[in-house]
């Protein structure tokens, strides 16, 4: 069994981080140079961490599979980033952002981490503005804000519909500066394929050069994974096609625990699926819900064009069901409501899997121009994909996989149970519980990278002597490299018939059907059977084109898809084990019914998720036990010192 110490500092919640910073070990500047840190990933999280660690004086080696750090998936984030600046004077505060986030996560995140996140949020905006991130501004020259789901204040900072791009370019600029002055050595087109663990501590990685196929070993005093989320396990998602789980999955197989793997976010407003050839789903930012109203026909089978359906025959179901938050209900709640409406036969579009997001009223109130200024790029994107004009007719939207709250387990220092392995950003499990609020991933990524890790990593490094760092000639390094080499060769030698892509599609369908928006015991058990068969068939019947020692996208996919299949099984296991509903994890067996007192008191609706704090107020941290044995379940109990776990109400 792994030992899980959260290492949350003692003392009142509001002073924990301050105290922890003070109590964290310092390494003197002359010694910092001797420590080498590997950072895998250069999205918002990895780039900000690599740049800041280099500024502090550490030797940083940064690896990305992309051809440039600027292409990381963070670039696609549209809507914005939260911070408790209270520039709008609308009652926001660190405590309110903390509370909204912990409630948004349905009381399944670690209290102290979330409070720290809210505290640090304020500094992030300062940092980004100073880097030249062109945030939206008011005529007075000060920063503008918008609202996001799950909050009743306006605390989201944005740069048109391209906030992720601009924040990433800010972090990339900081990284570039540190590459230029030698603080960071950048390795692009370099994919980490395994983690090297020496005497129980993470001490290096094995990397494949995607251009040449060459495998190399890299040793360091600590390894930082900032490799993003694993939502592409569903194949169709809003993620970039290249996003994958390999880095964290390989670390899991080397002993790092995987926290809450089944916690997946399904985003309510995406362009619906149109055909089997489809390779990705496109998000329509949550910010649209500031001015768009979501509705479906009130009557089953109403096939009239949206414009022909009179007000009296429309159901603005979020406004009806969740009055206090209305169209800005949190994502899990809004997605489930849309699914329910479609399941009732009231969905729109050719497939019946869609609801309307309607701007008619806002356009009437504010004019085309104002709407174009706020959302022009999103309307244009919608037009390119659907050939429809959202200024004239409502958008059609449907939920799609968007984010993974689960990830490798980390303590308060962001270190996994494997000493020396740090996990940041979407790749870890820590801050969003069972559901993430909009505009909070960018906040977490930059908080982890700019401010948290650079402080906490010294607590580990101070216990390590760089002079004792295992060299890459160490036997463990060569063993791991051999493992990787054999694996690559196995794919190339495969004499089967099916491509990695075709397996990925099949995997995605199984996951969406049985481990998607609604889950139940029968379905999950069935999925486990199907996935076991799929994994076996993958071993027998895979076809990979080309050679190992060259640019080979088929080979790249082969490894990623195999890891996804294994991860899929772990997600189903976790979903099966968690016999409650919370946030984005909806087990059909556990929901409120009209007879529950909470429903009668008007706190929740029938069909809302029903938690079981008695049995499940914990993080499920899964530990690998070998390929032929089921994984071990470890639990970190969630102890709330200041907040009371209460029924999550948005009515």
């Amino acid at each position: 069994m792994a030992t899980l110490h959260s290492n949350v500092p003692s003392g009142p919640l509001a002073t924990k981080w301050e105290n922890h910073k003070f109590n964290s070990k310092l390494i003197n500047p002359a010694n910092k140079r001797k420590y080498r840190i590997i950072v895998v990933g250069a999205g918002l999280t990895g780039a900000s961490a690599a740049a800041t660690l280099a500024e502090l004086g550490y030797e940083v080696q940064n690896f990305v599979f992309h051809d440039s750090p600027r292409r990381a998936h963070s670039v696609a984030a549209q809507g914005g980033i939260n911070a408790a600046k209270n520039y709008q004077n609308d009652g926001d505060s660190v405590h309110r952002l903390f509370y909204d986030t912990i409630k948004g996560g349905d009381f399944r995140s670690r209290e102290a981490n979330v409070h720290r996140l809210a505290e640090v949020s304020v500094q992030i905006i300062d940092q980004c503005a100073a880097q030249g991130v062109p945030f939206a501004r008011e005529y007075g020259g000060l920063l503008d804000n918008r609202s996001f789901g799950g909050a009743q204040v306006s605390r989201t900072f944005y740069a048109r519909g391209q906030t992720g791009q601009q924040l990433l370019l800010g972090a990339y600029s900081a990284l570039s500066r540190n590459v230029a002055n030698g603080g960071v050595k950048l390795h692009t087109h370099s994919e980490m394929l395994d983690l090297v663990v020496v005497d129980g501590q993470a001490k290096g990685i094995v990397v494949r050069n995607l251009q040449t196929g060459e495998l190399t070993r890299h040793a360091a005093d600590a390894v930082v994974l900032a490799t993003g989320g694993y939502g592409n396990v569903f194949n169709l998602s809003t993620y970039a096609r290249g996003a994958n789980t390999t880095a964290i999955w390989r670390a899991y197989r080397r002993g790092a625990c995987f926290g809450n793997p089944c916690f997946t976010q399904i985003h309510p407003t995406c362009i619906p699926v149109s055909g089997d050839y489809q390779s990705k789903l496109t998000l329509m930012s949550e910010s649209l819900r500031n001015d768009g109203r979501i509705w479906a026909p009130a009557k089953v089978g109403d096939k009239r064009a949206p414009g022909d359906i009179p007000e009296s025959d429309r159901d603005y179901f979020l406004e009806r069901m969740y009055g206090a938050f209305g169209n800005l209900a949190p994502r899990d709640v809004a997605s489930r409501a849309a699914k329910t409406v479609c399941d009732e036969g009231r969905g729109v579009g050719a497939t019946g899997l869609g609801v309307y997001l309607d701007f008619a009223e806002s356009i009437k109130r504010l004019g085309d121009e104002k709407i174009r200024e706020r959302y022009g790029n999103l309307f244009a994107m919608y037009h390119e994909i659907t050939a429809e004009d959202a200024y004239k007719a409502p958008m059609r939207i449907y939920p799609a996989v968007h984010y993974t709250m689960g990830g490798l387990w980390v303590d308060y220092n962001l270190m996994s149970n494997l000493p020396g392995l740090f996990v940041l950003g979407e790749a870890n499990f820590s801050d969003h519980g069972a559901n993430r609020l909009g505009a909070s991933a960018l906040m977490q990524g930059l908080s982890d990278g700019y401010f948290v890790l650079p402080t906490t990593i010294s607590n580990y490094l101070a216990t390590q002597a760089p002079s004792k760092r295992p060299p890459v000639s160490h036997a463990v390094f060569s063993d791991v490299e051999t493992d990787v080499r054999n694996r690559v060769q196995r794919y190339i030698d495969g004499k089967g018939k099916r491509t990695p892509g075709s397996y990925h599609k099949e995997l995605g369908k199984i996951m969406w059907e049985y481990c998607g928006m609604a889950r139940n015991r029968t379905g999950l058990e069935k999925a486990l059977g199907l996935l076991g068969n799929l994994r076996e068939e993958y071993r027998q019947n895979l076809h990979v084109s080309g050679e190992a020692a060259e640019w080979n996208q088929s080979l790249e996919s082969a490894g990623r898809v195999e890891d996804f299949i294994e991860l899929g099984e772990l997600m189903c296991r976790d979903a099966l084990e968690r016999e409650e509903s919370c946030g984005g994890h909806f087990r059909e067996e556990f929901q409120y019914t009209k007879d529950d007192p909470e429903v009668r008191n008007g706190l929740v609706n029938p069909g809302d998720v029903k938690r079981d704090d008695g049995r499940f107020a914990h993080v499920a941290a899964w530990e690998f036990a070998g390929s032929d044995r089921p994984p071990i379940l470890n639990r970190e109990e969630l102890k709330y010192e200041e907040v009371k776990m209460s029924t999550r109400s948005y009515k």
């Binding site: 800041t52 905006i125 020259g141 084109s545």
Partner: protein, 257 residues
């Protein structure tokens, strides 16, 4: 619908390349151009032929990974979009579509349609930043920025670093790309202290990488998926002249030192 593809195939930088013709399987007009290539590649793989290598990631026009010259135009037939935002409904049944990589000396070929655009990163490293150490920033609202400047900076900052401007230019100039970054930072008060040193360092690196001279034909602006304006080139030229007048740029300030 079905189309015919005439695709540039080249095993690697050192092998000769050639056009190869493929007949597509049955397609749906609502497919994206890259989904069409996915389908073609699946069918090649099923015949044990090697799939066509092409670059892509976000598939929504923001990461700058996709490239391709389609019928002679970088990013295909439409203005203001990237290849990944091009849909098959823009083509007709039976069309022959010619697909080539972005060609430029500074973008060496990796395989088939994939080229190496690291030269862009090296230009950024020379000066595409504001030197601000983490934790040293003042309150974000302590420096107001006139909305018009912020908006114009954002227009420039939208560049996705795809390199289409280079591929479209007969001289393979990278001026539009460099001017976008120089203008973005130069329009903001935060960017002033390093404004002239930045432009000098970035332009010098651009020359060093082997990108050609700019003769302002506007071919770049016409293919840019973010419609980055030629005006930014004029703005950069002005800054560059001032920088020259001020004398040689010193090395960019060391961060973290």
């Amino acid at each position: 619908m079905k189309v015919q593809l005439k695709v540039w195939r080249q095993k690697n930088r050192n092998s000769p390349g050639k056009f190869v013709i493929y007949d597509s399987p049955d397609l749906n007009p609502n497919m994206s151009f890259l989904e069409m290539l996915d389908v073609v590649n699946e069918s090649l793989a099923s015949k044990s032929e090697e799939p066509i290598a092409f670059d892509h990631d976000c598939r929504e026009g923001i990461c700058g990974t996709c490239s391709l010259v389609i019928d002679g135009k970088p990013h295909g037939p439409h203005k203001g979009v990237a290849t990944c935002q091009t849909y098959m409904r823009s083509f007709k049944e039976g069309d022959q579509i010619v697909i080539e990589p972005f060609r430029a000396k500074a973008f060496p070929l990796i395989k088939d349609l994939v080229v190496d655009r690291k030269a862009f990163d090296r230009i950024q490293q020379k000066g595409g930043f504001i030197s601000v150490r983490t934790g040293s920033a003042p309150d974000a609202n302590s420096i107001p920025v006139p909305k018009d400047n912020a908006d114009l900076a954002m227009d420039a900052a939208q560049c996705i670093g795809c390199g289409a401007c280079v591929a479209a230019c007969k001289n393979a100039s990278a001026m539009l790309f460099v001017s976008a970054k120089v203008s973005h930072l130069g329009l903001l008060p935060q960017g002033q202290p390093e404004r002239h040193r930045r432009v000098k360092a970035m332009v010098d690196q651009m020359d060093e990488e082997g990108f050609g001279a700019c003769t302002v034909t506007g071919a770049c602006e016409a293919v840019c998926p973010k419609s980055i304006s030629l005006d930014f080139i004029a703005r950069m030229n002005r800054d560059y002249l001032v920088a020259l007048a001020k004398g040689d740029a010193k090395k960019p300030a060391a961060g973290g030192a």
